[in-house]
Chain length 392, copies 2
């Protein structure tokens, strides 16, 4: 549940439409802005992108968004022309009962790829969801539940921002690899922000947050983050705008970390801090290689202090360095210093990995001032089980 700080002028619903086979599983959400809202979006970089991504991207940026409609259980990806028509129809059904134009409605989906949307369910469900939309924390919680797939918990982040408020929610679980996987994020504010500023602020906030997490590095077809600002009056400028941007970054960072921590089957949240590369981009490249290594992730799962896997993953990232340029700490244990292995108590490090759920890796280079913090999780039997029979 949220902490009670909610942006003004938004209503939410999350209903059981029947898209998902589990009984009483919420699977259809709407976000309604009572006032026309400036809206920005950031989307998957996948060449194969879902119909709702194509439809929403064409509608942004805009100054008069009224709603977002989101379904879970079906990604509406790899569905051809029919998929595009279905995504547009979802917006049309939402617009009808709000009395706005379909172009004022954005669409997002998450779930299985390659199956046509069961439109009769949505034809019946969307009007119900729009009718059910209400302000307040309980409705927000319903919406946050309705977008989940294999997530085990809702991801909410709310925050005061100057005299305004930010309300964010997201889903993750798997197919999470930069740049943004089956990762949906929605951030609403009642601050007044010019559309161009909104887009710039969202793009900057997504880069070090949603784009610095991975579960298995598989970039989804459906990644979407929307930022809606329905404030009236003069748009924020100067220091107030900068402070707002910092708050958007904080909300995105909070949601992204919740996604990594609740990844499919995860037992550990791994935070990879890379410092001392020539550039931030180099630091991110190294961090991502470590984060995506199945060998690193299984070792953390097994509490196996096999630190050579971390160093060797850094080595194949594609960033040039000499071994003497690198040191590695796992939690409080310095294991590798400027190219030399240090003697260490393997049983103690193993016990540390077993006892702690949050594991930091510190990779320190001596090449410059570049840095990146990246979040991932361990690779467990549960991940394999969840993904071995996702559709069947």
């Amino acid at each position: 549940m949220s902490n009670g700080i909610l942006a003004d002028g938004y209503r939410y619903a999350g209903i059981v439409s029947g898209l998902r086979s589990e009984p009483n599983r919420r699977d259809l959400a709407v976000i309604v802005s009572d006032r026309p809202a400036a809206a920005a979006g950031v989307f998957t970089q996948n060449q194969v992108c879902a119909a709702p991504v194509q439809v929403s991207r064409a509608r942004l940026p805009r100054t008069d968004a009224r709603a977002v409609v989101i379904c879970s259980g079906n990604a509406n990806a790899c569905t051809g022309e029919q998929g595009l028509a279905d995504a547009r129809r979802m917006a049309e059904l939402t617009a009808k009962d709000l009395g706005c134009s379909p172009e004022q409605v954005l669409v997002a989906s998450t779930g299985v790829i390659g199956r046509p949307l069961p439109m009769p369910i949505l034809e019946a469900g969307i009007p119900k969801a729009v009718a059910a939309a209400t302000p307040g924390a309980a409705a927000l919680d319903d919406a946050a539940h309705a977008i989940l797939t294999t997530d085990t918990k809702v991801k909410l982040s709310t925050r005061r921002s100057g005299g305004h408020a930010l309300t964010g929610f997201a889903k993750g679980a798997a197919m999470i690899g930069p740049n943004m996987a089956t990762m949906l994020g929605f951030v609403m504010t009642d601050a007044p922000v010019a559309p161009a500023d909104l887009h710039r602020i969202l793009k900057a906030a997504v880069e070090p947050t949603f784009n610095c997490i991975s579960v298995e590095g598989h970039t989804s077809t459906n990644d979407t983050v929307f930022l809606l600002a329905n404030g009236t009056g003069a748009p924020l400028t100067g220091a107030a705008l900068d402070a707002f941007a910092a708050d958007v970054l904080a909300v995105c960072g909070d949601l992204a970390k919740q996604i990594a921590a609740d990844a499919e089957g995860a037992n550990h949240l791994i935070t990879i801090n890379v410092v001392g590369t020539r550039t931030d981009a180099e630091a991110r490249t190294v961090a991502k290689a470590v984060a995506d290594s199945a060998l690193v992730k299984t070792a953390v799962f097994g509490a196996d202090p096999n630190w050579g896997r971390i160093v060797s993953a850094a080595g194949y990232a594609g960033v040039p360095f000499e071994e003497r340029d690198l040191s590695l700490k796992v939690g409080p244990y310095l294991l590798y210093e400027k190219g030399r292995p240090l003697p260490f108590d393997a049983a103690a490090v193993s016990a540390y990995l077993k006892a702690n759920r949050d594991i930091p890796f510190d990779l320190t280079f001596t090449l410059g001032t570049g840095r990146c913090t990246f979040h991932t999780c361990d690779l467990t039997h549960e991940y394999v089980s969840l993904n071995a029979d996702y559709t069947t």
Copy 2:
């Protein structure tokens, strides 16, 4: 065991030195050439490369190689100056009893990263291995066993080549990602080949073979493929040299496929055929993205016909295309045709995945004549178990 075709003038040994904790586990191999051999090597691209890689790379190409010494159980990687001294000492011990210079001996290692080699074991073991070296299939089999780590079987490939012979063996199992992971390969021939030709032929043979397999995409610190040619007389030229190159390619391809099929915990060998991209490099990029996707690999393990994961992995590979440019077959089933999902019998495809160990994916683009064949395996509970407690 080999088919009895063995290159002339080589002796082999694989002994139990005590490097590994399992009783009676062979862990130390030597290959001796009775005559000075032209030698070429191809090594890991990892910035963090093991001491034996550094030592061997500095000694190649050469015309007078006499031996290769290989230990398993310890990679001698991330071991600093001591590691380099230890790798050189392995060569020195081998050279001593052969009466050659240490520079005529090449070194390879595979196993845990970051631990100093237990040199007393090697000081005692290497002379025993050199003394034990004999010609013939039984000794070759011992050597092929001694280089294994988590492999479940030896990988041998032997072949006639013109009037000569090729003898190859290799190990793999995990930390297999292009370019070459903890992948060791040794190919010996009695053909006379000029060193420059040998290097060119080996490099060309490794690219579409050992560099087109992956287990989890983690490039090792120790990858090494050596090609030794101890033939006397005039070096091969022209058509004879081309035929020899084709045979080296065939041996490397055979060994690489054996590595993918015997990957850690693998239940399925997945062969990814990409055709119709603009270039071969694009085809390889797409194939590698599909091969490295944990979601694709778990779906095959679970016999889940979740083909959207294959298409979406192609989509994030970094090769530009439109959905209508791509069709996908899994085994005999056409599931996706020029951007449209086809109706299919999910139960039949699942049954096919359950009943077959070799699963081809055919990704057909309409962009050009590029092509690549890439081998990988599924991601299983057994892989997670094996890697969760490798060192402990």
